[in-house]
């Protein structure tokens, strides 16, 4: 990509962000729906809006970023999915946990085995590990499966049950720890 292309792409992203900030559905709506074609260069600005803008703009930026993910995953998009994943990982540390959770789910749609070590590290994060576990359930290939197995070997408590559930969902036979999916544990105060 030459400097003219980069410049026009950057201008397009800036224009999209400006439109997202406008409190007019007729402007904001088409902007967020059209964001997908802007690809990886739109990721960092959109995450910035999700983190720092008023709720209306942040919500629109969130939807725009999902559109970027969905367009990057289309058949024939080549390396675009990987580029979007790379950009998301690049800004991940700047976001609060509530947004990081959603970014993990975006990566779960596009990521391949190259993101497995990064997701595996998140399995140690108390606020993010459940979402990272879910993402690893979705990433195809033996490497994600192996990462879940390794995590299970050292996990304790309910998260060990969760990892075992993840392996079962991917067709693995895991006896211990058992699933707690049919174990009731929420009593009501009604009628007591």
């Amino acid at each position: 990509m030459n400097s003219t292309d980069l410049s026009s792409q950057s201008a397009a992203v800036e224009a999209m962000i400006r439109r997202l900030r406008m409190d007019d559905d007729m402007i904001r709506g088409p902007a967020l729906q059209g964001a997908g074609r802007l690809g990886a260069p739109a990721v960092a600005p959109l995450v910035g809006e999700m983190c720092n803008s008023p709720p209306g703009t942040a919500q629109a930026a969130r939807r725009a970023l999902w559109n970027v993910v969905r367009v990057a995953g289309r058949p024939g998009a080549g390396s675009q999915g990987g580029a979007v994943v790379s950009e998301i990982r690049g800004v991940f540390g700047q976001a609060p946990a509530t947004i990081q959770r959603e970014l993990i789910w975006m990566i779960s749609e596009l990521g391949d085995q190259r993101v497995v070590p990064w997701l595996s590290d998140l399995l140690d994060h108390p606020e993010l590990r459940e979402d990272a576990r879910c993402a690893l359930m979705r990433i195809p290939g033996a490497r994600a499966l192996a990462a879940l197995r390794v995590a299970l070997s050292s996990a304790e408590g309910p998260f060990a049950n969760a990892l075992a559930d993840a392996l079962r969902a991917r067709g693995e036979s895991v006896v211990d720890p058992p699933s707690r999916n049919r174990t009731p544990d929420r009593p009501t105060s009604v009628g007591q």
């Binding site: 559905d25 904001r28 709506g29 967020l32 729906q33 997908g36 709720p55 209306g56 919500q59 629109a60 939807r63 999902w66 559109n67 969905r70 367009v71 995953g73 289309r74 058949p75 999915g81 509530t98 959770r101 789910w105 779960s108 749609e109 596009l110 459940e130 979402d131 576990r133 879910c134 993402a135 359930m137 979705r138 195809p140 309910p158 049950n161 969760a162 559930d165 993840a166 969902a169 699933s179 707690r180 999916n181 049919r182 174990t183 009731p184 544990d185 929420r186 009593p187 009501t188 105060s189 009604v190 009628g191």
Partner: protein, 448 residues
Amino acid sequence: MAQGPTLSRRLRRRSFLKSALAAAGASGLFQFIPSRVFSAPGRPGANDRFVVAHIGVGGMGMTHVNNMVRFQQEEKVRIAAVCDADDNRLMAAWENLGKAVRPYRDYRYILERKDIDAVLIATPDHWHAVQTVHACQSGKHVYVEKPASVTVAEGRAMVKAARENHVAVQVGAQARTAKGAWHTCRAIRNGIVGKIHKVTCWHYANPVDDQPVPDSEPPEGLDWDLWLGPLPWRPYNRRYHPANFRWLLESGGGQIRDRGAHQFSTILWCMNADHQTSFTVEATGRAPARGLWDCPVDMHVVYRFKNPDWVLEWGQPGDKVGTTEFGNVFWGATGHLILEWEGGYRPANREAIDFELPSGGQEVPRTDEYEDFNMNHKADWFRSIREGHMRPAVDIEIAHRTATLCNLGNLSYILGRPLVWDGDREKVVGDEHANRLLSRPQRSPFVL
């Protein structure tokens, strides 16, 4: 968990009945006694009451409760338990039913009770599959609200659980046992407007969350974590609950998964097309520009079926041909026939009601025990259990196929591209990203 006396009393009665029938057979009288009077574990006989429990007692859940109260008055069922993640709703239902009914927050307590034969599930869509599969695995028959599922993988798991555990799963798309849709079905199948090449649906738009509020603590009595269940955790916002789950793609899927599940079920029935599981789908829509709800405001979805060739169009708003707020039009070689709503709450159009079956025409069977179509649909479910075939009118396999139409319509919308669906393999052709979204990892421990 305590077991009521009912089960043992029922079993004693079953034993008595079997002995009496054996004696009757020995004396040559057996041919006068229908076979369905015999019962088996999990399959009450004709003289037994079903013991039922309600999971989810909000809007539609209370319709089910009221239906079961009537069945109870007719001595056909006994309501044993009610359950809701929101104590406010639970309290209202429990007070309405009386102290003989036990309240629960967690549906899994109900599944542990051996005296309960069947459950009626009316929770938000994201719970349908998990609760249905667990109920089947616990040997319970299930009546679950439509749409059956939120992903293709969930729907397939529901079918598998029903078959492996030999239980009846009826999905609450009531039109297939309702008179309005039945008149329309037999008229369409027997050529009232000739060969059908297109069916169009019209429906008003999905609402926009134009009064967004910040996240907050959940209201007292609501177990927010349990309400979310399989969904990724996020803070409570009152634009999710109460009443608004329908307007989020992951928990409700918008009108295409609500009314669409009714309308598509009726249309597939009328078209005799339950076997046409492969199609292409292309959706476009207008995303909301504000608020929490993310369902498209307007939506246009085109499904194309082959052999026989026909097109199904979902339109919000679509081309409104009838007079009511939503409905369908069957476009045939010699004219068109309108079905307003989905054939349950509204009668069929006059032409369909007056239609006379031609000589050699194809009659359409239908359970016809109650004029009230909500009651009749449940009677059809009970009948499938008593007769032992476990295939009610909207058996889970049929409902899974209907939900697949709804879910792939939404999937095409969120991906912004057409999809080619291979119904035999249950895969999108040539789209790895789309195939990854045919299932959704569930938050532990709320997993299939």
